[in-house]
Every structure is written in structure tokens, then in C-alpha cells.
Amino acid sequence: MELRRSSSVRLLCRAGAAALLAGAACLAGAPAAGAAEDTPVVALDPPDATILLVPVENLAGLAEADPLGAGSAAADGAGDASAALAGLAALAPPPELAEALGVEDPVAASLAGGPLAGAAAAPADASADASSADAGVAALGDTGILSHTGGGEVDVELGGTLTLRLPPVVQPGDLLADLVVFDDADPEAEPRVFSTDPGDPADQLTVDDLGGNELAVRLPADTGTYGPEALLVVDGLTGTDPQASMVAPLLYYLQFTGSGTGTATVEPSAGVIADVSCPVESEEPCPGTPVTAGGSFDLTVPPTSLLRSFGFGRLDTAGVELYAEDEDSVENYSSEDEGLLTRHDASRATVNVPEDISTGTFYGFTWEGDPLDAGGFAVTTFTVDVQPVAEPVAEPVAVNAGLHSDTGWVEDVREASAGSTKAAAGITMLVVAGLITVVAVAPRRRPPAEG
């Protein structure tokens, strides 16, 4: 395994956010049952969920240190939660490291730049040109950028202790922790990995369960030539809810400031990642809900939804995002876009699909809460298949029987014949008068003389 380091936090943020969305794409869901006759319905009723623990301290420091990264996301209008998610994604370990650590679950895979890492543009950087995001993804996949150096690391001491306060939705379970320490002097060198299950006893890492959902990670006193940056990976945590038993590995970036016995305490927040219908581990693609460009579909939250048990599933405050499946597209829509979302109440909202939206598959998700807040957050994915606007079927138009129209009125042609008749009569009268005159004036014939 060849690992290199980079200080390009911005690229990491963008790439990581893309990876996070890709993870959502992996989890993309299916339409909910019971759709209404006219308006498609996507019910936020996931069968299960994955718990994602967020290294709040890393994110807070990262946002402060790199305003062009996570912090810029909010400025882009994606919202604080999306910005934090982007920042969270920026903390993703490279694929090689994730593989080496045995991180295989979908969420972790997505965080590690999973198979669909390039499928979606980062929500936190939707306005950025695609080449930047692609470059970031490429950097993750090809070079294995390891560190997010530039801010956000938790300061600890060699020989000290890191106390981990777990949120109540998770429990230690069959814990497996690894501490990856990098060689700052040689970015090409393989890191040293301390583990609760080490290959070499010299690399033993001890984690004590302090009770009260607190763990104490005893940091090594000496890492040799490695340091000062390190990555703590805590795996094997399980959810307290049977429907959310899977917990993605927790990652914390650390920075050794020296030797000592000091204790640093971190308190990650917990997020609920779920799909509307497919189990989290489902390998089958979840079918999308058919929707129509210019139409709408409803989001609903059934009273028994798993989201409710975590205190989420409120559509009167949740954000909604839609991203085109096309990896070459940056087409996306947000509930912050005017007119996209019509909220009805906590249990129902209507997504008004833009008329000019591209046809094809769109990955959508709702997000609630704040990853940087102790209250945690929830991301619920779904998929819609945008159909072209159906050509309206012209109803047959009833047509009356057509008629001719003889509605012109002209002088009677008989008038002409009447005139002719008069003329003829006049002529006749003249002829007769002439004959009478001739007869009247003609000399009478005398009878021949007698004898």
C-alpha cells in the first residue's frame, strides 16, 4: 500500500463531499408503498438505518481553517448541515487505507471514495466547476491522500489519553480500534498502525471502557519516527436500536503536540443514514419513484417511521436535495430553491419537480439536524425517475354536422324575364295596332258590277 500526503484540504472537501453523496447514491432508495393515485408518494419509512458518528472537533477546526472548504459550502447556499456533511466527507480516508483497515460497510466505503464517488457533485460546492471535483476524486482514488492537514486535528500527547464520549445511540460492542500514525518526513512511507488487534505486539493499542458510554484510548508513548499526525479509527461499535445496529467506523484525525499524560476528550455527534425502503446493506439497486417533469411528488413520514424513534422525520424543517445520476451533470435542486418544496406539516411536504428538469434518475435525500450539534442529524435517501412530460392526449372534439350556407340575397332573375315579357307585350300591341290600322285604312273591295 502506497500512501501519500497532501495539504489540499479544499480538494479533499470537494472530493469527500462527492464521495458522501455517492454513498447516498449507494443507499438510494425506492418508492414508498401506498402511493396515491395521482401524486407519487415517497414515504420516509426506512426499514433500517446506519449510524454515522461525526468527529465534530475535526469538522469545527477544519471549517475555521479552510473557509474555501467546508465553510464555503454554507456560502454556496447548501446550508450548514450540508456544509458540515461536506466537511465530514473531507475526512474520509483514502480507499487503500480503508481497505487496509477492513472498512467494508457501505457508508464507510462511500466515505472512502466508493464506487460512485464521482457520480454526484458535492452539495457543498454545487457551483464549483466539475473539473475541480473530479480532480479531487481522482486525487483520492489515485494518490491516496491521507491527511487533511491544515486544521481540525485534535491535539493529543504521546503517552496521553483520548477520551471518547459516545452518543447514546451507540455502544462499544466488539470494539476494534486502530491508530494510524504517518511519517511526516517521508510522505511515501507506509504509516505505522497501532491496533487493539495488532499484528505486532509492539503496536498494541489499549482502549478502556470507562462506563457511561465513555472509552479511553491510551495513546502510545513513542511512535518512533512517525508523527505528529495520526488517524484514529474506531470500528465495531453497534447501535442501541435493533433497526440501526450498524455503525460506520468513527474516524478522528489527531496531532501529537508532544509527550505527556494529558487527556483530550472528544464527543462525536451521531447521524442516522437511511434509505426510504431498501435495507442499508442491500446490494440490489432500489427502484425509483416515477415522477414527471413539471409535476410533483409527496414526501411523507408515517407515524411509525424509524426516523421518529431518533427524533427526526419532520418535514416542516427538513431540507431536500435532488441530484442527477448522470456523472457528467451538475444538475441539482434544493429545498432552498424557491418553489421546489411546499411544506404542509411535519408529516408531509410536496416536491414540485421543475419543468425544465432533465429526464432520468435523480438521487434525492432529506437532511435534518446539524452534524456539528450534539443533537445529531439524519440523512434519508430516495430515488426518483423523472419522466418526460406526457403529451396531453387530445380528447376527441365533438363536431356538429357541417352545413352549406346559401345566405346571399340578390335581385330576382325573374325581374329580367318580366321586363322581357313587357317588352314583348308592347311590341305585340304595336304590331296588332298596326294591323288594325292597315285593315282599317285599306280600301274596301267593291263587289263586281252586275250585268
Binding site: 340575397w409 340578390v410 325581374e415 295596332a433
Partner: protein, 221 residues
């Protein structure tokens, strides 16, 4: 002894003179131009078939002024912009041809739309036909522009159909000219469209030649 001529000859000559004078007058009357008291009657263009009441119509039974006989009706068509105010009567075309019996009335064509007091009550397009003579103010003459080139009605002009139960005001949407043989096949004219009024007449000119086109005015309530 020369016998005097018989009075019969004088009588004959007198009769001949009267005949000659009468003949001259009649001949002059027969040869004189002008409408005189000639009757007006609609042109029957093929394949026209005279409609039923034609024979009983006063307008064709004797010459003018009977042709100007104006029937009474409590249903009227009023077009204020061109001064049309016609009584409306029902008419069922015979042989597929609209051929109103009178020049002085409009006719709604049955069994299509009938005049209603409220546009919401309409169940079909209301067709009103009337003759045009190409001159004067009878029938739909006022709908024909003076130069015979177009209609005097334009978009937005109001056409009222007044009935005892109310008046429906229609607004002119368009005017069209159709060849006489084209009109029966012009589906856009014959679409069933409740609330629509279609006025039909001939594009009659004053020269007395038979019209070759129909004028159609489409209005919506």
C-alpha cells in the same frame, strides 16, 4: 256616290291607336333598367335545396315591400357596434344547407345550440345565420365591409343574444372567410363548444353575382 266611311273604321283606328300607345308604354317599361319593384330572393347555389318555409314566406310570394317584412320575436341578436338588431327565429336546415327564408331576420340553426339566458346553460355552439344582400342594412349586411373586402366586426366587438330569460354577451374572437364548398368541412366552425356563438352569412356583393364565400364570425361568451 262616294259612301262615307263606316264608324267601325274609326273605332278600329282608335283601338289601334290605343294599342299602339299602350304597346309603346309597355315596351318602354319592359326595356327600362332599375330595380323597380322587383322582388329580392336568396340565391340558390348548388347544392342548395330550398328550405321548408320558403314558399310561404311573404318575401318571396310578392315583390317588395313584402320582402322587407320583419317578423317579430322575443329573441333578438344585437350588435351595437354595427347597428344590427335582428329578431331571431329557429331554423332547421334542409338538405344540409342553411337558407333562411327571410332577409330581415336571423336564424339559429337547429338542432345545435339554442339561445339561452345564461351562458352556463349552453350545451352546444350557437349558430346564427342571416342573409346579406351586399347593400342596405338588412340581415347581416352590416357585417360586410363597404368595400366587400372584409367584415366590419373585429376582435372584442360585442354581440348580444337577448332572450326573455336573460342576455348573453359574446365577444368577437375572430372572423373568417370560407369558400362555400369549404364551409361544411371546416371542423373548427362546427366544433361543439358551449358558450360559443358563430355568425354565418354570405360574402354577398352588390353586383348581384352569386357569392362564392361565406363570412363566419366567432364569438365567445
Amino acid at each position: 256616290v262616294r259612301r262615307p266611311r263606316l264608324p267601325l273604321r274609326r273605332i278600329a283606328l282608335a283601338v289601334a291607336a290605343v294599342l299602339a300607345l299602350t304597346g309603346v308604354l309597355v315596351l318602354l317599361a319592359g326595356l327600362s333598367p332599375g330595380r323597380g319593384e322587383a322582388a329580392l330572393h336568396p340565391v340558390a347555389a348548388a347544392p342548395s335545396t330550398p328550405s321548408g318555409p320558403r314558399e310561404e314566406a311573404p318575401g318571396t310570394a310578392s315583390p317588395s315591400p313584402v320582402a322587407r317584412y320583419t317578423p317579430s320575436s322575443d329573441v333578438r341578436l344585437v350588435i351595437p357596434s354595427v347597428g344590427v338588431d335582428l329578431p331571431l327565429l329557429p331554423m332547421t336546415p334542409s338538405g344540409g344547407t342553411i337558407d333562411p327564408p327571410l332577409l330581415t331576420a336571423g336564424y339559429w340553426i337547429e338542432p345545435y345550440g339554442v339561445p339561452v339566458g345564461d351562458a352556463a346553460e349552453a350545451s352546444n355552439t350557437l349558430y346564427v345565420a342571416a342573409h346579406s344582400a351586399g347593400h342596405g342594412d338588412d340581415g347581416f349586411d352590416p357585417l360586410i365591409a363597404g368595400d366587400g373586402a372584409d367584415s366590419t366586426l373585429g376582435s372584442g366587438d360585442v354581440v348580444e343574444v337577448r332572450t326573455p330569460s336573460g342576455t348573453v354577451r359574446y365577444s368577437v374572437q375572430s372572423t373568417h372567410r370560407y369558400g362555400k364548398d369549404e364551409l361544411p368541412g371546416a371542423d373548427e366552425v362546427w366544433e361543439v363548444s358551449p358558450g360559443r356563438l358563430v355568425l354565418v352569412t354570405c360574402f354577398q356583393r352588390a353586383d348581384g353575382r352569386e357569392a362564392t364565400e361565406n363570412l363566419v364570425v366567432v364569438a365567445e361568451s
